[in-house]
C-alpha cells in the first residue's frame, strides 16, 4: 500500500537527513587503510530502506539528493561528480535487481555498494586517465560486497519495525 505523497514526504525528509548524518559519521571514522577512497557505504542505508518500503522513484530521489547534498556539505566539486555518478548508477542497478524478484535485499544492497564504487572509480579513471587508478578495482569490489551485504542485513532487520511505525503509527 502506497502512502499519499503528503504523508510520504516527511518520512523521505527524515531518511534523507539521516543518511546525511550517517555520511558525516562515516567521514569521521579514519577508515583509510591501504586504499584511499575506501568507505563503508553507511549512507546507502536510507536508499535501500526507501527502495523496500516506498517506491523505486523515491529511492532514486533520495540517492541523488543525498549525493548532491553530502558533496556540497562535506566535499568539493570533484566529489560531486564522482558521487552523483556512483549514486545514479548504483540506485539504477538496485532498482533493476529488485524488479527481478529473484534477488533479495542483502544481495541488492551488496551489488548497489559495488556499483557505487565501480562507477566512482570509472569516473576517476576518465578524469585522471591513469592506469594506477584501476589498481584499486578488486579491493573496491570486495569491500563493496562486504559492506553492502552488511548494510542489507541491517536494513532487512529494521524493515518490519519501520513499516509498523509508518502504517500503524506505533511499534
Amino acid at each position: 500500500m502506497q502512502l499519499p505523497i503528503k504523508k510520504k514526504t516527511p518520512y523521505l525528509g527524515l531518511l534523507l537527513s539521516f543518511s546525511l548524518i550517517l555520511s558525516y559519521i562515516e567521514s569521521l571514522i579514519p577508515f583509510n587503510f591501504a586504499i584511499p577512497g575506501i568507505k563503508i557505504g553507511l549512507s546507502n542505508f536510507s536508499v535501500v530502506l526507501c527502495l523496500y518500503i516506498f517506491s523505486p522513484i523515491d529511492a532514486m530521489l533520495i540517492s541523488l539528493t543525498k549525493a548532491v547534498l553530502s558533496s556540497l556539505l562535506f566535499g568539493n566539486f570533484s566529489t560531486l561528480i564522482y558521487s552523483t555518478a556512483g549514486a545514479l548508477l548504483s540506485c539504477l542497478l538496485m532498482i533493476l535487481l529488485k524488479k527481478i524478484r529473484l534477488i533479495h535485499i542483502i544481495s541488492v544492497s551488496a551489488i548497489g555498494g559495488v556499483t557505487h564504487n565501480i562507477a566512482q572509480l570509472f569516473v576517476a579513471y576518465m578524469i585522471i586517465r591513469s592506469n594506477g587508478v584501476l589498481y584499486y578495482l578488486p579491493y573496491l569490489i570486495f569491500s563493496g560486497l562486504v559492506f553492502g551485504s552488511l548494510l542489507g542485513f541491517i536494513v532487512n532487520l529494521i524493515i518490519p519495525y519501520i513499516k509498523k511505525v509508518i502504517y500503524k503509527g506505533e511499534l
Partner: protein, 125 residues
C-alpha cells in the same frame, strides 16, 4: 535456502570477477624501463633511482635515519631509527604502485612510472 540461489550466484560472480582482476594485476609485475623508485620526504621529491641498480641509500635528516636498499629489482628499508620500525618490517616491494612509508620520518619510498603519477584527491560520499 533454494530461493536464495540467484543471490549466491550474483555475489559469487562478482567476487570471482574481483579475484580474477586481483590475480591479473599481481601478475603484471614485470619490470620495464619506465619504472623507477621515487623517494620523497615530507611530500617533496628527494631523488629517484632505477629499480635495476644495486644501491644503498642512507637518508639522514632532522626526522631520523633510514637505510634504503635497492637490490635484486626490489627495494626495502634495511634499518631505521624510528620507534615502531614498521617500514623495516614491511619488507621488499617490487611492483608498480607499491610503496613503503615511514610515517615518523615522513619518508615515502614508492615505485612509480613515468606514465603514472596517480593522486587520489577526492573521496565521494
Amino acid at each position: 535456502m533454494r530461493k536464495y540461489v540467484y543471490d549466491f550466484l550474483i555475489i559469487g560472480i562478482t567476487f570471482f570477477i574481483a579475484l580474477i582482476l586481483f590475480l591479473f594485476m599481481n601478475n603484471k609485475s614485470t619490470i620495464n624501463d619506465s619504472e623507477y623508485v621515487l623517494i620523497s620526504i615530507d611530500g617533496i621529491t628527494y631523488d629517484n633511482y632505477s629499480l635495476g641498480t644495486n644501491d644503498e641509500i642512507i637518508i639522514s635528516n632532522e626526522y631520523g635515519n633510514n637505510t634504503i636498499v635497492i637490490n635484486n629489482n626490489s627495494v626495502y628499508i634495511m634499518n631505521a631509527d624510528c620507534p615502531d620500525n614498521l617500514c623495516v618490517h614491511q619488507g621488499a616491494i617490487n611492483k608498480l604502485g607499491q610503496s613503503i612509508i615511514c610515517l615518523p620520518h615522513k619518508l615515502i619510498v614508492e615505485i612509480v612510472s613515468d606514465y603514472d603519477e596517480e593522486l587520489i584527491d577526492a573521496i565521494a560520499y
